[in-house]
Amino acid sequence: MEVFLEQLINGLTIGSFYALIALGYSMVYGILKLINFAHGDFFTLGSYIGYTVLVFGSALVTSHFGLWGGMIAAMLVAAICLAFVGVIVERVAYRPIYPAGRLPAVVSALGASIFLQNAIMVIWGPRYQAYPASLIPNIHIQLGGIHITLLQIVILVLSFLLMGILYWIIQKTTFGAAIRASALDKDTASLMGINFNKVIFFIFTLGPALGAITGVMVGMYYRQISFTMGWNYGLKAFTATILGGIGNLPGAMFGGLILGVLEMLGAAYISAAWKDVFVFLILILVLIFRPTGLFGEKMAEKV
């Protein structure tokens, strides 16, 4: 039972990474019907920018604000930088291509992904980079026999907070309503006076910023980052998006959490080497029986 609970916590930690990245995929997909392959690399870039802030700005930041301040500064700087990068990538690589249809945009997204990945390699070098240790005091907490680290608690609280804020923005604010309306029917939404370009601007700042914060958290959790890690996380997060029902934001959050938990439980009870096979098999089974994902609505066939 203890193993189960510990793996559940580990799974939720990883799952919250997937969920936060998946939100970026899902928002872009919901509005533009585009699989944004560059999103995984936004996440990597955020991680590297956070790393740079922590390593090179560490003396400055930590002397003024302490270790926690350093962590928050790294996340904020990464998020702001990535919001800019996201908008630039959208303007340069996607906007000129929307009119041509969905498939050219996929190639363009892959091109943007290759570009970003190699830009990271050129700037920071091809080797693994190690995140500075003990940003957060290495405290183990015993809860009835299960170990939780303080870092895990911070990550879980922060991710749920971010997901909550995003959920609130999408569901409760007027601007969120504009986003949902654009996702449903872009043309009608434009006729109702919704500024579609503003919606795109918003999703391409918020998605990459969330990805960047996740990148910093992943760096702190695993302590090492590489320029290719965006592929793996991107693939998992995209899987989570589909698992939850594509374009459905709560679906993406739950999809990510479920995926993380399944992965960890699979690693603990079946085999660590086969855990990804396990995840993909579950995905395929879900899609065979629910072709639009766990939380996806049944779509009417358009003729």
Binding site: A93, P104, S108, I114, N118, V277, L283, I284, V303
Partner: protein
């Protein structure tokens, strides 16, 4: 009806006969005037052309998003590698065997998922590709050699008389296979099957309601595409003499996807151009070392900006639907 006979013996993809002969001539002379390195580059161009053609059946002809094609490629390569190293079966005998194995695998895994649409199919094929790759790494039944792969694969040979053991011979082998595939695929495009495929791509519901067995034709596309990828895997394995899981990553599937889209969906000469871009570009820009992939990504974006339909889009043979609509006064197809 000029465009009905764009493909014939006098005009091949709209090329003049003389142009065609020049291209063929260059292909024949090329390996005799460059060194082995560039012959090998042309060999890998051929491999990518074959892979592009195989994905073109699924993605270009039927419009099914398949981002796990490297899985089928891997099945072909590993079938060849394992049967050749364990049982000593000659490579050329294994060529059809690899095709059958990959095709059969595609039939098994695609049967339950063929009803999925668009991006859902896309993620499932990604999943299949990843499952194959992880399975190869984990070395099931001690067959695949884990992350190191399988070593010591033979040269293709017919008895001891004719052994394909030099770069030039490999070059001709792969391009003969590519040429035969192109011939077969053109025949297929113009056949009843090709028309059914294109019909499904344009409108699946309409295709189904006019009596096309959508499920059967989609599966057929997957099986044929996988079989062709299996053939590419066979040749790849014998050329490299070893196979390892890192040759069959998701990245490889993405490259194939790009080959088809850069060239133009469903266009055979387009696939050749796309394959040339993917395989030759990194070689030509090798002096720029670490910046070349930056340029590669940028060029991909630029290409889609200026030629969103691909470099050499397919000319639609037969009666054009759009022109009829224009005649009756509607502009949007």
């Amino acid at each position: 009806m000029e465009h009905t006979k764009t493909i014939g013996y006098d005009r091949f993809f709209g090329l003049k006969q003389s142009t065609l002969f020049i291209v063929l001539g260059v292909f024949f002379i090329y390996p005799f005037i460059v060194n082995n390195y560039y012959i090998d580059v042309a060999f890998f161009f051929g491999i990518y052309a074959l892979l592009g053609l195989s994905l073109n059946i699924v993605l270009g002809e039927v419009g099914l998003f398949d981002l796990g094609h490297a899985g089928f490629y891997a099945i072909g390569a590993y079938t060849t590698a394992i049967l050749n190293t364990k049982f000593g079966i000659p490579i050329l005998v294994l060529l059809p065997v690899s095709a059958l194995a990959a095709g059969f695998f595609a039939y098994i895994v695609c049967s339950p998922i063929i009803h999925l649409r668009g991006d859902y199919l896309c993620i499932v094929t990604i999943g299949i590709g990843e499952i194959v790759r992880i399975a190869l790494i984990n070395n099931p039944f001690d067959l695949t050699g884990g992350p190191n792969g399988v070593f010591g694969i033979d040269f293709p040979s017919l008895g001891s008389l004719f052994v394909i053991d030099s770069s030039i011979k490999y070059y001709f082998l792969i391009w003969i296979v590519v040429a035969l595939s192109i011939f077969g695929l053109i025949r297929l495009q113009q056949s009843r099957i090709g028309r059914a495929w294109n019909c499904i791509r344009e409108d699946e519901v309409a295709a189904g309601s006019s009596g096309i067995d959508v499920r059967y034709y989609k599966l057929l596309a997957f099986v044929l595409g996988a079989a062709l990828a299996g053939i590419a895997g066979n040749l790849y394995a014998s050329k490299l003499m070893c196979v390892s899981p890192e040759s069959f990553t998701f990245w490889e599937s993405c490259l194939m996807f790009c080959i088809v889209l850069i060239g133009g969906m469903g266009s055979i000469p387009g696939v050749l151009i796309g394959a040339a871009f993917i395989s030759l570009f990194p070689e030509i820009f090798r002096p720029f070392a670490m910046y070349r992939m930056l340029v590669f990504g940028t060029v991909m974006i630029l290409m889609m900006m200026f030629r969103p339909g691909g470099v050499w889009p397919r000319k639609r043979g037969g009666v054009e639907f759009k022109s009829i609509l224009a005649r009756i006064g509607r502009k949007d197809g």
